[in-house]
Subunit: 187 residues, 2 copies
């Protein structure tokens, strides 16, 4: 099964402030730029290409805090698993939308694979780092907001081995965001 990442970071590689805040994402860059040719910087196209999602518990908490209406729900009807060894029940406003999973990531992938899923969206810093360490990530799309946060929660946690990236592409959008894509070459 293919696993990929689609995530936004600051120019210095943080996915959130030290407290987990992502408000800066919505104020960074030029809000008056003409984004009519790609208003969501490829997100809908990406979502259309995946059929399931695996995120960490912190990532779920951030999404829960948005209190999204059904119209605002960005993930369509893809199956969503939330990894947690402590939380067994999702927050009230995510019930029926996500399923908690406790245990081995490799087993989860094997299970999703056997159920016919083809492409998982992997989200959340700790979850992405764990997947990379398990050599499970195939592609990464990183959209960098034009701001240096100076401190925060980094996208990539510490890894013991370096990871080779290939097929790099980069796009600067009119609003100042830069989107970088890589394929991961696990050795």
């Amino acid at each position: 099964m293919k696993c990929s990442v689609y995530i936004a970071t600051s120019a210095d590689g943080y996915i959130a402030t030290p407290e987990g805040g992502v408000d800066w994402l919505h104020t960074a860059g030029n809000p008056e730029a003409d984004m009519s040719s790609n208003p969501d910087m490829g997100f809908k196209e990406y979502i259309a290409a995946v059929d399931c999602m695996i995120m960490g518990r912190k990532c779920m908490d951030v999404i829960s805090s948005f209190n999204l209406t059904p119209e605002q729900w960005p993930y369509g009807d893809i199956k969503i698993y939330v990894l947690s060894n402590s939380v067994t029940v999702p927050p009230e406003n995510l019930k029926g939308k996500v399923e908690m999973y406790s245990g081995d990531i490799t087993k989860l992938i094997t299970q999703l694979d056997s159920e016919g899923y083809k492409h998982a969206y992997v989200d959340g810093g700790a979850t992405i780092t764990a997947f990379i360490n398990l050599k499970l990530i195939n592609e990464m799309t990183i959209t960098k907001a034009p701001i240096i946060l100076g401190q925060g929660i980094p996208l990539f946690g510490e890894m013991t081995n370096s990871v080779k990236l290939i097929n790099s592409t980069a796009t600067a959008f009119p609003n100042g965001f830069i989107q970088i894509k890589y394929d991961v070459k696990h050795e």
Copy 2:
């Protein structure tokens, strides 16, 4: 006086391994790619646009460790200051090439300004972070090697204030390196 940054990092934003090594920079990406249209990814053009350089002591030590021949010296004849409050004499192989400076960065900039210098190349993670905190950096060119190091010395140290970036551009080179340019908007 204009101050700018031209630096390479890993995809996860490190300028060196935890031990200060930069060998990965020379092995990352596709060495067989056709880079004839831009073999040095703009470095010579950048050097031609600056007339002085300010780097940190660690950065000097890395350059000193290369034991460059006069033919390999990449900085032309631009004036180079090395910031250090402890080291007062440069290493033997950099004598006559760099001058040590101890003290206030703002004063150094005022001095260079009064001497007619127009554009300083600022190098080294700690030095760049100090300059950003002093709101002295105007432009940044960051060339990202297609490798996740997983750990190392980050380009950006901790900052107390976030910094807005404008006029983003991005180029993916055939060797897989991605070069990002920003202007810094100090508020």
